[in-house]
């Protein structure tokens, strides 16, 4: 019944790299789309896309890891509803972590601006240029992002609650250095 006690080093590194990508790309996306057309805007859009594609790659690795490993079991003594909520949040987040960059990529293809990763590697267009579809995908990309933001806030709030209010080792599974501290 019990899984391993903690996430592996690779899983931890991938988790925080994806978190970093989101912390960069999300506000960048919020900021850049309001800007009037300028060289700066074109740069920021490219950076945003490069981060997004990098995140997609990392997420692919994470899912591959997840399929090959059992994640550590939730700590014993948690109420049933919290276990269900934790699993539901994790699975929804995995789904959104894929859907968010993919919707961005689709939107770029539909709007006729392909992605050239780091200005070097041209990625294939997922669909043909279609401006109406592109505008629709823009809405989809935005909606998926706000859904992801809401879930990340719940995810982070739960982690903080476990650490500071329950004083359990939930957060330490993803931040091993916390484990060194004596149990509060």
């Amino acid at each position: 019944m019990n899984g391993p006690p903690a996430y592996t080093r690779l899983a931890i590194v991938l988790h925080w790299l994806v978190a970093l990508a989101i912390v960069c790309a999300f506000p960048l996306g919020m900021y850049m789309h309001e800007l009037p057309l300028s060289p700066n805007k074109l740069k920021l859009y490219s950076y945003h896309k490069w981060i997004g594609i990098s995140a997609l790659l990392l997420i692919g690795l994470r899912l591959a890891w997840r399929l090959g490993h059992r994640p550590p079991a939730l700590l014993p003594g948690m109420p049933r509803w919290q276990e269900i909520a934790a699993h539901a949040t994790h699975h929804s987040l995995y789904l959104l972590l894929l859907a968010v960059p993919l919707s961005g990529w689709l939107m770029s293809s539909a709007l006729g601006f392909s992605v050239v990763w780091f200005g070097v590697l041209p990625l294939p267009d997922l669909i043909d240029k279609n401006e109406q579809l592109g505008e629709l995908l823009k809405e989809v990309h935005e909606a998926l992002n706000f859904t992801m933001l809401a879930l990340i806030l719940i995810h982070a709030a739960a982690a903080i609650k476990h650490h500071f209010f329950d004083g359990d080792g939930t957060l330490a599974r993803m931040l091993p250095f916390l484990k060194q501290e004596p149990n509060r």
Binding site: L37, P39, G112, S114, V115, G119, V120
Partner: protein, 190 residues
């Protein structure tokens, strides 16, 4: 009865077309002027919807060929509505002052194998520059199909000035691609 006459006349017409050597009737609906710019390394396609072309070209006498192309810059489709309004402005084409771009050929020579080269003057935004336009010409359905691409160095014409002159964002070279369909000249047809 009518059909019978047509059957008789058709081969004659076709012979007439095939034997024609000069072409000068541009078919606007079968002609295009597109371009590809590079933004942050991303090739972005665009096109001009309105242009006027006068070409007379005989593949067997390329030296006698002539071309004049006028592009209505307001008809630009630069890939997005944002870009369309931006490129009409002062930093780019400044179409309020310079509504058109013009190419006038000086000479045309054969490069062999159905390939030719037109030299001439390109005027954009009030600046005239010498350019070389390589193209191919081949027959199809009794028409002459002309295809070519000209690398335009946009900064030589002041297209995209100020902050936009950063070629790390928008590359200096823009590929202008043209495809013209020319019917045989009426004089050669008879």
């Amino acid at each position: 009865m009518k059909r019978l006459v047509l059957v008789w006349i058709m081969p004659l017409l076709m012979v007439g077309t095939v034997s024609a050597t000069g072409f000068n009737v541009v078919q606007p609906d079968k002609s295009t002027i597109n371009f590809v710019s590079k933004q942050m390394g991303v090739p972005v396609e665009g096109r001009f919807r309105k242009f006027a072309v006068q070409i007379s070209f005989d593949p067997s006498k390329p030296e006698a060929g002539k071309a004049q192309i006028e592009i209505d810059l307001a008809s630009i489709d630069a890939g997005s509505s944002d870009a369309n309004s931006e490129v009409k402005g002062k930093a780019w084409f400044n179409i309020g002052e310079f509504p058109g771009a013009r190419f006038v050929s000086g000479g045309i020579k054969s490069l062999g194998n159905g390939r030719y080269e037109a030299t001439g003057k390109m005027t954009i935004k009030g600046k005239t520059r010498d350019i070389v336009a390589p193209f191919s010409a081949k027959r199809g359905n009794g028409n002459l199909l002309i295809d070519g691409a000209i690398p335009i160095l946009r900064l030589r014409y002041g297209i995209g000035e100020g902050a936009w002159s950063d070629t790390g964002v928008v590359a200096d070279e823009v590929q202008l691609r043209f495809h013209f369909t020319l019917a045989a000249s009426p004089a050669a047809k008879k």
